[in-house]
Amino acid sequence: MSHLGDEELVLHYYGEDGPGLVAVERHLRTCAQCARAYEALARTLNAVTPPEYVEPADDTLAIRQMIRERLRDQSSRVGVSQSVSGENWGMALVWLVPLAYPLSLQALFSSGQWAQERLVFIPLVAISLLWACAGPFLAVFALNCMAADRRGARASTRVLVAGALMAATSPALYLLVARLNVSLSLGLGLWAWYGVIALGSLVGLLPWPRAFSSKARFSYVHRLSALVLTVFVLGHVINQALAFVSLPAYTAMRSVMRVASHEPALYTLIVAAVGIQIATGVAMGLKNVRAGAVARNLQAVSGWYLAAFLLIHVFSGLLVSSQPQAATTTATAVNQLNLLATPRATASLPFLLLGVTAFLFHVGVYARLAAMAYLAEAWVRRLSYAGAFVGTTVVVTVGLALFGIHVTR
């Protein structure tokens, strides 16, 4: 047995070395160097003794008074305003997002046309783009406002969560509905979209399953399939960013990636990974959302959007034309750079930008939680800032490319 490390010695001191306990004991009896190190550690830790047990002063009266005052405050500020008013506001907001989503696309397209004629309208493009992309962020806000009812027992909570799901996935769902409408020649126009919203509201009114049996099992499978997809998605994200620097380089790389992803084995692997991601992700996402848990809600909402995005991105070929070769929404969209050129292409702009943003948020939040296990909080914070900076740069770069702005054409 090689020498024991500091961490093994600490675990041994606290009796946390598990099955290795006997081996560590034996080693400490035979290795003088480790025995000395352990003795020094024990001496240090033995010197750290707890404060003597103190009987607290009897301040029951003060505590009673404090709780009463705080309860009064809370009922006037939080109790009423947050759990009822907050939830109502959240509910109204998330259902307003899908209802007004077609308008936001119209605003984005029109402002884009005006901006091409007069630069003074560029801020309008930015505002319209923010409006079109606001759904997932408002969904996180609404989930934070909801009253504490994680299992969806109350109808109002279910309506809010269903609304958040609709708001978060509106850009992707809208694109899917529009495409189905055209390819199946339904001729329903916007009625198809409002029909989907009505179906979504029905989901909120029906009772939901109470809980899923094993989150740990879901989580393991989810992570495994995520590894496969991360390679695929990361390649796409980097290529999208590359489109800003050089359009020819982007086109060349896209051709290579197309050939690779159309290999039957690879395509099957990607489709399977997407299917697993969506099935496990939706189950975990619905289980994880809760009031006040910003990171969990962000993780869930970005996951919902990614699920819708990947569903359309990978399966749209199968759904619409039954040809996997046509299943590259991004490529099709970027062929027409810029995306503000036609009203139809404009719908792809928030869809793609939010796809990149959701991927970065989803991976970033998970990476942050994982980093907490191995790094000091200060380092995690610094890395988070660095990650946020890199992520913002990537999103802005992809956005500029999608607007048809390139360093080299």
Partner: protein
Amino acid sequence: MNDGDLEVFLSLVERHRSYMYNLALRMTGHEQDAKDVVQESLLNAFLRLDQFERRADLRTWLHRIVVNCALDQLRSQRRRPDVSNPRPLSDVVDTAASSSPDPERLVVSSDCRRQVAAAMNTMSPLERVTFALRHFEGCSIGEIAQTVGIGQSAAKQHIFRAVRKLRLALDPQRSGL
């Protein structure tokens, strides 16, 4: 919830108040902070009474609430460092010196207290809380992870870092750092 509920609640938690206070004191190292943590914990516990399962142990439930309130308290202090009100060192660690009247030993233990207190003040809130739970309360790493809501490997790493900081302060030559 009305005044009657509050009275019943306070009478239920009364016998745990001393335990809650000492737990908070070990994690925050400061009497006033410990009092604040207990008050905040009692308020949170009262507000979440409906989440308490009858089969569960009340003390275990309160333990979890106190730990998380202490963590919040330490975090908020970190964001608003109060340089004008340094930590009273004697609150943090009380060595066995109190049982020995030897003045020389008292001086040594006082130095030790100061070094330990200084080392604990350099710990992050999570390092401090996980270390206090493991070292002072004797909680297992699994229990700590569950209470604080982090993974077991994360809990271990926080404890390792806390011990490393202590060793650096108390035994710099041997700490290997």
